[in-house]
Point group: C2
Amino acid sequence: MGRGKIEIKRIENSTNRQVTYSKRRAGIVKKAKELTVLCDAQVSLLMVSSTDKLHEYVSPTTTHKTVYDKYQQESGSDLWQPHYEKMQGTLKKLKETNNKLRKEIRQRNGEDLDELSFQQLCGLEQNMEKSVECVRNRKFHVITTSSDTFKKKIKNHEETQSSLLREFEERDADFRFPSLDYEGDYQSNIGFANGNPQIFAFRVQPKLQSNLQDEEPYGSYGLSLA
Amino acid sequence: MGRGKIEIKRIENSTNRQVTYSKRRAGIVKKAKELTVLCDAQVSLLMVSSTDKLHEYVSPTTTHKTVYDKYQQESGSDLWQPHYEKMQGTLKKLKETNNKLRKEIRQRNGEDLDELSFQQLCGLEQNMEKSVECVRNRKFHVITTSSDTFKKKIKNHEETQSSLLREFEERDADFRFPSLDYEGDYQSNIGFANGNPQIFAFRVQPKLQSNLQDEEPYGSYGLSLA
DNA sequence: TCGTCTATTTATAACGG
DNA sequence: TCCGTTATAAATAGACG
């Protein structure tokens, strides 16, 4: 190879080692290229130097991955494949579950009932009637609670305004018109707050329904309302 | 390299190509070994011949996988990672969809209604009432169709048996007992077939319900019936 | 299809700028 | 540290058995 036979043994001088590494690396890469062209072979060559730098050569007809995959295939040491297959299995199961759930929803929505037997239809009907009752109860609970909250809010306003009124009256007894204006508002609010809850509910509902478009539609209910 | 300068160009004679491949492969492997020892390097060398055979060399201090992992890390061209992440993303989405669907089912089952607004509850109730009507209609359709089918079957039996009876009577007028036996069955069947459909339905239903355990329970209806 | 032998080419260690 | 040069070892194409 050069001036005098060299012995194949670790080069202790690290500078020389690096120089030799560079030269010989080039040599191997050249050989690999020649092998690729001459013999129509596919070579994947990866080299890590003692300074932990990586150098490579791949035949232009392929990639490291392709060659490495072939190696894994041959050696049977593919650790990725089982993991991948497991994931795909999970994916498939989830999709199936999803489809079943969608179907159940469609059936609970009165569609896709063809394949249900008479008994199943009976069960479904019974269950839905029970469920709609739950919804109705919950609805009642919500509207009751929300009118209570409204009442409290109004009562709060009432108190704030009456104290404001008092303040105005105390501070400036000469001003009558502003006082009267406030008194007007005060009265109408009182009337509203003390109204029959039943009637109050009717008054609130249309206002809420007018906002329905702006609310995010929940699931398919939004569609089914249209 | 040998007797006369060789040109680096594909060897067309496939036998020679293989011979050259073997010789040069040995040469590269030798070089790789020398690099490993001399320069304290780690080499992963994979070669695929034109006849699709794989040969390899790895430095004894490492493995192909280790070196390949380093290559992936350095080059950032990990082809598995994006795929893996994509799969995990799909998995996550499917799980979320699943949960949403389950929640919708629970809500259509009258549970988990706490976070629904009054408007949403109204929509849900309305939708469920519409849906239960669909189920009811379907149920009616099924029971009607199935009693029609039953009627036809029975009518068939009736005809078969009456023709049998006729045959018996015509063939052997002396045999009275068998005739009477058949007549008995015949009568009871007729009675059954001509029964009020309403009553017929009642007769069938208990029989079908007793088979309910054997039927595959559909989704959660099986549970909700219990 | 092999291994072995050589005439040559190639690779490269050591050195010098 | 990075060229180029050079003497020499190694690699190897082609031949032969």
